[in-house]
């Protein structure tokens, strides 16, 4: 079924009786060409692009819970391409371009809203770092504008210009940055993959990866064994456990990142605003809730929930930066499990096992990467070669020291990125 305004009108006039499932619930077959472990955003988009761009459709996506139940359903929905190191820059740029055609491509309104992102800076040194970043963004073909204090004040009059502890010097404005409706992205890719013949298998937990003589043969699951020529692990948040089934140890530590949404409010924040000195970022959803977050809780965790010190420091940053949000009430808080890597950048690579591929280490930047990640990962799986925009996301960069992509400059401690 094709979605359109006309279809909504027609169904509305005929009692909304004609809607059909967005995807099937097939039984798993005993063998596939490719098994993708993980039915989150990255796994679904990988399946979608394998089918769409490489004509491969004998694919199963195995999801232990429900489609889109991982971090794609529990993030703060920010989409941007504002990185400054080689390796990241071209990759996220590629991803943003895919975002920009996503609704038409998927025939699904994911509400990608390019409302602009502003990263604030508070000193000459921070302005220099922002300039380095902005210049890289432009040289990559993306957009960036360096705002001075007065221009910032015009755009964001509600910030605290009077007595902010770290005075506002300006901001790096990324007009093409913005937000999207997170769940819809998962559903759109799921529907697109399903329509092209991919089997989405929910409630199917992988319990083992079969490897013979260094070659992958298939997986064991809670719904039986499935043979496969290629297996892709796309399970950020659980990467360590799944990789361990293949005997691998990863440069990843899992951490909890909390996020918050307030009660619905009339529109008051039109952009995504990032306050680095306070580790705080905020936007307002189309439904009216202020969606915001901050730093990790900083301790390793698989609990998908956090504790109060981080809650408070996020709220404190909000109060410091924009006191007008004080009366907004936090409706819900939640936590996601983050694959934290030692340089804060992701890993998309082959492994030491033939036919076994790895996509992990999204830190807390995985949402915006969903189209790009699936796209380049599909390319790698289908062709065996790195996509031109993903040559730097290698697993061995830590061992060799070659091409470490440490945007924060914090080094090997996983939770500092």
């Amino acid at each position: 079924m094709r979605f359109s305004g006309f279809r909504v009108l027609k169904e509305g006039l005929t009692g909304n009786k004609g809607w059909t499932p967005h995807w099937r619930d097939p039984e798993p077959k005993s063998e596939y060409d490719i098994v993708i472990i993980g039915g989150g955003g990255h796994g679904l988009s990988t399946a979608y692009y394998l089918a769409k761009e490489h004509g491969l459709t004998n694919i199963a996506v195995l999801e232990k819970g429900y489609i889109g139940g991982g971090n794609i359903g529990r993030n703060t929905t920010i989409v941007r391409a504002n990185y400054f190191l080689q390796g990241n820059s071209e990759f996220y740029s590629h991803s943003l371009k895919l975002w920009e055609g996503l609704e038409e491509d998927l025939n699904y309104n994911v509400m990608h809203s390019q409302r602009g992102i502003i990263n604030l800076f508070h000193s000459d040194g921070q302005r220099d770092a922002a300039a380095r970043r902005g210049n890289m963004m432009i040289s990559q073909g993306d957009d960036a504008i360096l705002l001075g204090r007065d221009e910032l004040r015009e755009m964001l009059p509600y910030l605290n210009y009077d007595d902010l502890r770290f005075p506002l010097y300006g901001g790096l404005y990324h007009p093409r940055g913005g937000t999207a409706r997170h769940d819809a992205v998962a559903w759109g890719y799921a529907r697109g993959a399903d329509q092209r013949g991919v089997d989405l298998i929910q409630n199917c937990e992988v319990t083992g990866i079969d490897i013979e003589n260094g070659v992958v043969r298939g997986v064991q699951t809670s719904r039986g064994a499935i043979r496969a020529k290629k297996v892709a692990m796309v399970v950020a948040g659980r990467s360590g456990q799944v990789a361990a089934m293949a005997g691998m140890r990863l440069p990843i530590e899992s951490h909890v990142l909390q996020a918050f949404v307030t009660e619905g409010l009339k529109p008051c924040i039109d952009h995504v605003v990032t306050f680095g000195m306070g580790h705080f970022y905020i936007s307002q959803s189309d439904k009216g809730g202020l969606v915001f977050g901050g730093d990790l809780d900083f301790y390793a965790s698989y609990a998908a929930r956090g504790n109060l010190p981080t809650v408070e420091s996020v709220m404190e940053a909000g109060m410091a930066l924009m006191p007008m949000i004080g009366k907004a009430r936090v409706l819900r808080s939640w936590g996601g499990i983050m694959d934290m890597t030692p340089d804060g950048s992701p890993i998309i690579d082959k492994t030491g096992v033939e036919g076994l591929y790895l996509n992990c280490g999204w830190n807390y930047g995985g949402f915006k990467a969903v189209p790009g990640s699936g796209n380049v990962f599909a390319h790698l799986i289908a062709t065996g070669r790195y996509h031109e925009n993903a040559t730097g996301l290698r697993l061995d960069r830590f061992r060799t020291g070659r091409g470490i992509i440490d945007e924060e400059g914090k080094g090997s401690q996983h939770n500092l990125h």
Binding site: F3, S4, G5, V8, G15, N16, W19, W23, R24, D25, Y66, I67, G68, G69, G73, Q86, E103, N109, M111, S113, S123, A129, A131, R132, G134, I138, S139, I145, D162, R165, F166, G188, E263, G264, L265, K266, P267, C268, G278, D286, K287, E312, E316, A317, M319, A320, P323, M324, G326, K327, A328, R329, V330, L331, R332, S333, G401, R402, D406, E408
Partner: protein, 977 residues
């Protein structure tokens, strides 16, 4: 309608208030909702999507409909629950999400478009044409967003946060909570009893139960009086325990002043509490659920429990001609209470075929309400029986679909409640929150007797865990009516039957979601927005789940639940972030010279929580550059003074101090002579540069290390880690002395002349050569002197105990000025160090190695040190790495910009041609040109080459010559001279 002789309000005190510009009177003790109902106002809000007219559904914090805005300007509070907002003289509230008025809302037109606005409609449309989303569709959708609004002004109220500790936290002060608190308190435990309401007692205030032969509220007051008299008990009213966290930590919000317009100086409107409790008892009660039937959302339709609460607690009947509908005996209790109060009961519709009959009112057994009518308030209902449908005139329908135990807090640590079929509700799983017992209605035990018993049992269990002896407690006498329920979620039929009232989610929406394969409960929730409104599904989740289970042919427990997450009730950002406004956000650190610098009009800049002067403007100077140039020249030609106290200083002592330093620095310190200082480079274990600074040896076993300002804390942490974690065998200790000493740079050719006037001895090159250090007497005060330089000039740093800092700064300034020098700030300091090619964190930004910054040879090959092995990885020493160089403009453009990137002269300035970037720039008055430091691929091999600096952001392109980063005095003659 106010009912005579009922309610726990103070009828002697009339309270005037305003709603939507109309003045009303209520009584002291009323909520806005009870007072409006007393004034026969039923319409209190509009729903989110369809702008349907709505009245109160409940009498508690879970209210989804009656949300109002209170206050004006910076004190404006959106989305206040009329059911919780106590009235006070002068209270002015207004309705929300309507235009132009609550009675006539143009957006009500959405309701007519409902067939096209069902579940998930927006995912399927607004995609064409592409450009219309941001420009047309999204702005329209956004305008419709939200219920209330923020004022846009800075919050004018004060908030505070606080900590509390106790042996036992009791959450909820109904019969179970009161009993638990009483038992634990009598045993001597430190008890905190917290309740969301203004008055403690829970349902005892809302029902006509007796306890120990007294009215329930009287019994509650007696218990509270006893508790109030004990100094091991803290009673916290208007306090919502909102979240359960690890190791017995709970978040709670106390609404301190919302019930009054008094704002004493400094008084908090709200206090956010973190309560640390060794044990807790959850006695949060239960929430009644509505029944879904066609048009079940009209003002006048509310839960039966709410009707009894308004009647018994506030002496208000929400209607004059009431009908009652439901599936438990509660409906009969409601009928009896109303009749006793003299309110007419038109009919009682009991869905159970075996329902009890009554002589006092008409009971329609096995019947269901299947529709309602009335434009802005209920006028009639339609009842379906086996015999057919029948219309009954009524202005209030009290409905009940049973009760949901308030399990929310037990879910906060990922506990999933279990389905208990006999009460058709979810109950907490035991030990879902470590240390928490559950008691009473939140446990699925609904009779008063069960609540009292479980309260006692929970307290006894907690006391046992605490190692305390429980006193012997007799259970007070109370009703023990069995709870009999026939499941009833949604009455079949046409039309729209509301589940989530605020978000306008209907039974049809849930069924459509199931049809579209959003069968997982999480999918259904996210697709329909069911349970995502301000009540977080407290009123609707279980019914929606039951509808989904039915639509997908599964049982309820198999279908599963969504998760309740903190907070239980929404909490203001201002409360959770209390104290962070303005200067409170992070500590401010002031040097002893701060006031003097400010007095000289120096703009202060922030650096690692410290404030430092940027430059010192003098008469006639109109730009910062003029001041900066003068200050640089002053240091190069005479003498300059700069407060360097914010640099980290760590005192390191012990027999193994030298060996320890050899391990944390790349270079040797055990060989340093006493009375000498040395520059040191410190790596992280991954081989990248961590920090740098000068370390001086004051004695055989005594060093003092200098760190960068920003790195001081991290370096201390690192030293402690290396010592405690890796080398506990070494006898060494560290003490921060950053704050002990006020330290000033005295830099320039006349620095020695200046100091010789202040010290009790004469400095010369022999006794105080470059890098010498030692104790001195400064105007009779014991201080320290270091002959070190960050400017390349003959320079010293002089330190005195901080109490003398301000005084010494004044004296140094005065004397420097006499010598043709004076103060210099961070701008000049920056230029001076760039001229010399000295690095700061702009260069050691965490991604550079010793090799990259030209200090590869400082990594001693004679010993191991932190970071050494990893710094020698193949990828970190191979050709192509970006390494430190100096850059000088040589073309037409003379401008350099930090953050600009470097390209080959002829190359297009795109990423794939990127060769490096500039980290620091400054105008050198000494060399009369801009100078830059930067990183360039294979930079040191390219001295003399011309490269192109491009700054896309600011539109600047400059050709630069690649040079050695030491621009000025490369042999260092000045620093030694």
């Amino acid at each position: 309608m106010r009912v005579a002789g009922k309610g726990l309000i103070d009828r002697t005190e009339t309270v005037p208030f305003v709603f939507d510009g109309v003045s009303y009177n209520g009584f002291r003790g009323d909520t806005l909702a009870s007072a409006l109902l007393a004034n026969d106002v039923r319409l209190m809000g509009r729903s989110f999507k369809y702008h349907r007219p709505r009245g109160v559904l409940t009498a508690g914090s879970e209210e989804p409909n009656a949300l109002v805005t209170v206050g004006e300007g910076g004190a404006q509070e959106p989305n206040m629950r009329a059911t919780m907002q106590e009235i006070y003289p002068g209270l002015a509230a207004r309705s929300q999400n309507r235009w132009p008025s609550l009675g006539f809302d143009l957006m009500g037109i959405n309701d007519l478009g409902a067939p096209f606005l069902g579940a998930g409609f927006y995912y399927k449309t607004f995609m064409w044409p592409k450009a219309f989303w941001e420009k047309v569709y999204e702005p329209i959708i956004r305008r419709a967003a939200g219920l209330g609004g923020l004022s846009g002004q800075d919050n004018t109220d004060k908030y505070e946060s606080a900590y509390a500790f106790c042996d036992l936290l009791v959450i909820g002060a109904g019969p179970a909570g009161l009993m638990a608190a009483l038992v634990a308190a009598r045993a001597g435990a430190d008890v905190i009893l917290a309740d969301e309401n203004a008055r403690m007692g829970g349902r005892l205030l809302a029902e006509t139960y007796e306890v120990d032969g007294k009215p329930g509220h009287v019994w509650a007051d007696e218990v509270l009086a006893e508790l109030r008299g004990m100094d091991n008990v803290r009673l916290m009213t208007r306090t919502t325990v909102a979240g359960a966290y690890d190791q017995g930590t709970y978040a709670a919000l106390e609404r301190v002043l919302h019930h009054t317009d008094r704002r004493p100086n400094g008084a908090p409107l709200e206090t956010y509490w973190r309560i640390v409790a060794k044990r807790s008892v959850l006695a949060a009660g239960a929430l009644e659920r509505p029944v879904a039937f066609r048009d079940n959302d009209r003002p006048g339709i509310m839960t039966a429990g709410a009707v009894r609460t308004y009647l018994n607690r506030w002496g208000v009947s929400p209607g004059r001609n009431v009908t009652i509908f439901g599936n438990t005996d509660d409906i009969h209790r409601t009928a009896r209470d109303l009749l006793e109060a003299g309110v007419h009961v038109a009919a009682v519709i009991d869905s159970r075929h075996d329902a009890p009959l009554s002589d006092d009112y008409q009971v329609l057994r096995g019947a269901q309400v299947c529709g309602s009518a009335g434009r802005k308030g209920l006028e009639s209902i339609t009842v379906r029986r086996a015999s057919g449908e029948e219309k009954i005139h009524t202005d209030c329908l009290a409905m009940t679909g049973g009760w949901n135990p308030s399990v929310h807090l037990t879910c906060h640590m990922n506990g999933r409640p279990t389905w208990q079929r006999d009460i058709a509700a979810f109950v907490p799983r035991p030990d879902a929150v470590p240390g928490m017992e559950t008691a009473g209605a939140c446990n699925g035990s609904f009779s008063t007797d069960a609540c009292l018993r479980e309260g006692i049992a929970a307290a006894e269990a907690a006391l046992d865990d605490l190692g305390m002896k429980a006193p012997k407690t007799t259970v007070p006498q109370a009703e023990d009516t069995p709870y009999e329920i026939a499941q009833l979620w949604a009455v079949p039929g046409k039309g729209r039957a509301w589940l989530d009232f605020q978000n306008d989610v209907t039974v049809k929406d849930v069924k459509q979601a199931a049809t579209e394969n959003f069968r997982s409960v999480e999918h259904m929730k996210r697709y329909t927005t069911q349970g995502m409104a301000t009540d977080q599904g407290k009123n609707s989740n279980v019914a929606a789940l039951a509808v989904l289970a039915d639509a997908t042919g599964r049982g309820i427990s198999e279908t599963g639940t969504t998760t309740f997450r903190p907070p239980y009730s929404p909490m203001a950002i201002a409360a959770l972030g209390a104290g962070a406004e303005g200067a409170g956000f992070k500590p401010q650190r002031f040097t002893t010279s701060h006031k003097a610098a400010v007095a000289r009009n120096a703009p202060m800049v922030e650096a690692g929580l410290w404030y430092r002067p940027s430059y010192f403007p003098q008469a006639g100077e109109t730009t910062w550059r003029q001041s900066c140039d003068r200050e640089v020249n002053m240091v190069r030609q005479a003498v300059g003074i700069c407060d360097v106290s914010p640099l980290g200083k760590i005192d390191i002592q012990g027999p193994d101090a030298g060996a320890f330093l050899d391990f944390v620095y790349t270079n040797m310190f055990s060989t340093l002579k006493v009375g000498r200082a040395r520059y040191g480079l410190m790596l992280r274990e991954d081989g990248f540069v961590m920090d740098d600074g000068t370390t001086a040896r004051l004695g055989e076993t005594h060093y003092v290390m200098t760190t960068t300002t920003a790195g001081a804390g991290d370096v201390m942490k690192h030293l402690e880690f290396v010592h405690q974690g890796l080398r506990p065998d070494l006898d060494v200790s560290f003490t921060s002395v950053t704050e002990q000493w006020a330290q000033f740079a005295v830099a320039g050719p006349k620095s020695r002349e200046l100091l010789n006037d202040l010290l009790d001895m004469q400095l010369d090159d022999e006794s105080w050569p470059f890098m010498a250090c030692g104790p001195v007497s400064v105007l009779g005060v014991a201080g320290r002197l270091f002959r070190i330089s960050f400017s390349g000039e003959h320079a010293y740093e002089i330190a005195v105990p901080a109490r003398y800092g301000a005084s010494l700064y004044d004296i140094l300034t005065k004397r420097a000025e006499v010598l043709g020098g004076g103060l210099y700030g961070m701008e000049a300091l920056g230029v001076l160090r760039i001229e010399k090619g000295f690095i700061t964190h702009s260069e050691i930004h965490g991604r550079t190695t010793a090799y990259d910054i030209g200090m590869g040879r400082m990594v001693s090959q004679k010993k191991d040190c932190i970071g050494k092995t990893m710094s020698q990885r193949e990828g970190l020493e191979e050709p192509g790495r970006e390494r430190l160089v100096g850059l000088k403009p040589i073309g037409e453009s003379k401008q350099l910009l930090a953050g600009a990137h470097l390209y080959k002269e002829e190359a297009e300035p795109v990423r794939t041609n990127d060769q490096g970037y500039l980290t620091s720039v400054g105008y050198s008055p000494t060399l009369e040109t801009m100078l830059g430091l930067g990183f360039l691929a294979d930079g040191p091999d390219r001295y003399g080459e011309v490269v192109k600096m491009v700054d896309h952001l600011r539109g600047v392109t400059t050709l630069c010559e690649v040079v050695n980063p030491v621009f000025f005095d490369p042999d260092g003659g000045r620093v030694r001279g």
